[in-house]
C-alpha cells in the first residue's frame, strides 16, 4: 500500500462525516422544503415552490426577519462596544500583570455558564416583584419596570444578558491583543503630547481594525445561535416582540404541528440571507480594515 492511498484512506471517515453534515443536511433541507411534510402525518406530496411563495406573504416571517436583524445589530455592536471601551479602561487603569490576569480569569466566567443558566439568573433579577434590578430601581423612585413583559424593552433586556456573557469575554481578547501591539507608535504619540484617549482613538485601535472585524463576524455568527437565551427568557414574547427566525422556525417545525417543510424553507432562506449578508459585510469590513 503506497503512502498516498493510506493518506486517502485515513481521510475517508472524515470526509464522509463532513459530507453527511454539510451536503446531506442541506440537500435534505431543500428536499423537505419542496414538500408539505409534517411530523404528525406520514402522508405528503411535492408542492414545488409553494412554501417559499407562502413565506413571502407571511407577515410573521418578516417580523421575525426584522427582529433577527435588530438582535444582530444590538448584540454585535453592544458586545464590541463594551469590549473596546472596557479594554481601553483596563489597559489604562490596571498596570499590574497579576491584577490583569485576575480580571481576565474572572471575565470569562459568564460566557462559560450555559445560556439557559444566564437566562434564569437574569430573569430572576428582572422579576417585577422580587427582582434585584427593580429593587434598585425602587430605591431611586422608579416604579416596577416590566423588563421582559414590555414589548419595547424585552429585546434590549435579553440583549443585555448576551452582552453580559460575550462583551466581557471579548474584553479579555481585545485587552490581550492590545498588549501585543508594538510600543513605538504609542510612545511616539505620547512624546507628541497626545491625550490618553487620543492615543487609543488614533493609534492603538486603528492598529486592531483587522482583528476587530474578525471578532465582529464571530459574534454575528454566534448571535444567530442565541435560540436558547431568547427561548428561555421570553419565548419570543410578549406577542412577537422577541421572536427571531430561530424561534419562529422552532415554533413552526417542532412546537406547533411539526410543519417541518415550512420550517425547512424558512431556514434555507435564513441560510441564503445570512451567507449573502455576511459575505458582503465581511468584504466591506476587510476593505475598511486594510
Amino acid at each position: 500500500m503506497t503512502r498516498k492511498i493510506f493518506v486517502r484512506l485515513a481521510l475517508v471517515p472524515a470526509i464522509s462525516i463532513l459530507a453527511t453534515l454539510a451536503l446531506v443536511s442541506i440537500a435534505g433541507a431543500i428536499w423537505f422544503a419542496l414538500m408539505n411534510r409534517t411530523l404528525r402525518s406520514p402522508e405528503y406530496e411535492f408542492v414545488g415552490a409553494y412554501n417559499f411563495l407562502r413565506l413571502l406573504r407571511d407577515s410573521r416571517f418578516f417580523n421575525a426577519l426584522e427582529i433577527s436583524a435588530l438582535w444582530e445589530l444590538i448584540t454585535v455592536t453592544g458586545t464590541l462596544g463594551l469590549a473596546v471601551l472596557l479594554s481601553v479602561l483596563i489597559y489604562e487603569t490596571v498596570q499590574k500583570p497579576l491584577w490583569r490576569n485576575v480580571i481576565c480569569f474572572a471575565f470569562l466566567v459568564p460566557v462559560l455558564l450555559p445560556r439557559v443558566a444566564a437566562a434564569f439568573i437574569w430573569r430572576f433579577m428582572y422579576s417585577p416583584s422580587l427582582g434585584v434590578i427593580n429593587y434598585l430601581c425602587g430605591l431611586v423612585g422608579i416604579g416596577p419596570v416590566e423588563f421582559l413583559a414590555d414589548p419595547s424593552l424585552a429585546l434590549i433586556s435579553v440583549a443585555v444578558v448576551d452582552i453580559w456573557q460575550w462583551g466581557l469575554f471579548f474584553t479579555v481578547i481585545v485587552l490581550k491583543l492590545m498588549e501585543t501591539l508594538p510600543r513605538d507608535p504609542i510612545e511616539a504619540a505620547m512624546l507628541d503630547n497626545a491625550r490618553r484617549w487620543e492615543i487609543h482613538a488614533y493609534v492603538t485601535l486603528p492598529m486592531l481594525k483587522g482583528p476587530l472585524v474578525s471578532l465582529a463576524l464571530v459574534k454575528a455568527v454566534e448571535s444567530l445561535r442565541s435560540f436558547d437565551l431568547i427561548f428561555v427568557m421570553t419565548g419570543g414574547g410578549p406577542g412577537k416582540a422577541t421572536e427571531t427566525l430561530d424561534l419562529y422556525a422552532y415554533q413552526m417545525g417542532i412546537n406547533m404541528g411539526g410543519r417541518i417543510s415550512y420550517a425547512s424553507a424558512m431556514s434555507l432562506l435564513l441560510l441564503v440571507v445570512t451567507t449573502i449578508a455576511f459575505t458582503v459585510i465581511w468584504k466591506a469590513g476587510k476593505k475598511w480594515a486594510a
Partner: protein, 295 residues
C-alpha cells in the same frame, strides 16, 4: 486666531474630570459583571422566607444548603420529582464520548489538511468553513429525519453523533491552523528520523498541541454541556441533558416558585464548565492567543 494649548493643561481640571468618569464607568461595569453572579450564589444559600421578606441583596442570615440538595435530587419538573441528577448523568454520558471523539477526529483531520496536500483539500477547506458558520436551524429537520432513519432518534447515541458532527468543522479548522503555523523543519526532521504518518502525528505534533487541545476542549465542553437546542429537539424525557432538565424544573408550573432552589439548580448546572475552566483555564488563555483569534 489660533489658540495654542499649553501642554500642562492636560494635567489640569479636564484630566481630573476624565478620571472621575473613568472610575465611575469602571464601578458600573463591576456592578454589571458581579451582580448576577452574586445574586445567584446568595439566593441559592437563603431560605425562601428571607427572599420573600425582600432581603434581596443582603448576605444570607441563616445560610443553608437545603436548596442545593432539593435541586439535585427532589425538585419537580412537570413529569417527575428526581431533581437535576438524572439530567446530570445524561449530560456526562453525552459529553465524554462527544468530546473525545470530536477532538480525536478533528486533530487527525487538521494534521492531514495541514501537511499531506492532496487534490480537493481546498474544496474540503471551504466546506469546513461553511460548516462552521452554518445556522443550526438548517440542519435541524434533516437531522431529525436522519436519526429517525437510523433508529437512534431520542437516544444518547444520536445526541453524541450530532455533537461530534457539529463540532468537527470548527475544531478541524483550529487544529489545521495550529499545525500549519508550526515550522515545517520540525516535520522534515522527524521524517528523516524515520517517523511515518502516525509517528509524526502522535510523537511530534500531539505533544506540542497542549494549548490548542485546551482550546478545543473548552469549546467542546462548554458547547456540549451548555447546549439546549439539540437537547430539546433530539432527546426524550429519559435522555434530557442537564440544561433541559434545569429548564423544566425552573418552569414547572405547579406549586410556589422556589427561587432559592431555582438558583441552586442554575448554579449546579453551570458548575461543570466552570470547573473545567479552573483546571484548564491557564492553558486555554494561552492557546486562545496562539492562533484561535487570528483573522
Amino acid at each position: 486666531m489660533i489658540i495654542v494649548e499649553h501642554p500642562e493643561s492636560h494635567a489640569g481640571r479636564g484630566w481630573r474630570l476624565g478620571r472621575v468618569v473613568v472610575h465611575v464607568t469602571l464601578a458600573v461595569v463591576c456592578l454589571f459583571y458581579l451582580l448576577p453572579l452574586y445574586v445567584m450564589v446568595v439566593t441559592a444559600l437563603k431560605p425562601m422566607a428571607e427572599i420573600r421578606a425582600g432581603h434581596l441583596l443582603a448576605l444570607p442570615a441563616a445560610p443553608t444548603l437545603a436548596p442545593w440538595a432539593a435541586a439535585w435530587s427532589t425538585a419537580c419538573t412537570g413529569l417527575s420529582c428526581d431533581g437535576l441528577a438524572p439530567g446530570f448523568w445524561n449530560s456526562v454520558r453525552i459529553l465524554v464520548p462527544s468530546v473525545l471523539l470530536s477532538v480525536a477526529i478533528a486533530s487527525l483531520n487538521g494534521y492531514v489538511l495541514a501537511f499531506w496536500r492532496m487534490r480537493g483539500s481546498q474544496v474540503l477547506f471551504a466546506v469546513l468553513i461553511f460548516g462552521a458558520f452554518i445556522p443550526y436551524q438548517v440542519l435541524l429537520y434533516p437531522m431529525v429525519m436522519l436519526l429517525r432513519g437510523l433508529g437512534i432518534y431520542g437516544d444518547l447515541t444520536g445526541l453524541v453523533l450530532v455533537h461530534v458532527l457539529l463540532g468537527l468543522p470548527i475544531l478541524t479548522l483550529l487544529f489545521r491552523n495550529f499545525f500549519a503555523g508550526l515550522p515545517p523543519d520540525l516535520i522534515h526532521a522527524a521524517r528523516i528520523d524515520g517517523a511515518g504518518f502516525w509517528g509524526v502525528f502522535l510523537r511530534v505534533l500531539m505533544p506540542l498541541s497542549a494549548p490548542v487541545c485546551a482550546v478545543a476542549l473548552m469549546l467542546q465542553v462548554t458547547g456540549i454541556w451548555n447546549d439546549f437546542l439539540f437537547g430539546i429537539v433530539f432527546a426524550r424525557p429519559e435522555t434530557y441533558p442537564m440544561t433541559v432538565q434545569l429548564n423544566n424544573i425552573v418552569n414547572a408550573t405547579q406549586g410556589v416558585r422556589l427561587y432559592n432552589v431555582d438558583m441552586a439548580a442554575t448554579l449546579l448546572t453551570g458548575l461543570v464548565p466552570l470547573m473545567v475552566y479552573v483546571v484548564a483555564g491557564r492553558l486555554f488563555l494561552r492557546g486562545l492567543l496562539s492562533g484561535a483569534v487570528r483573522g
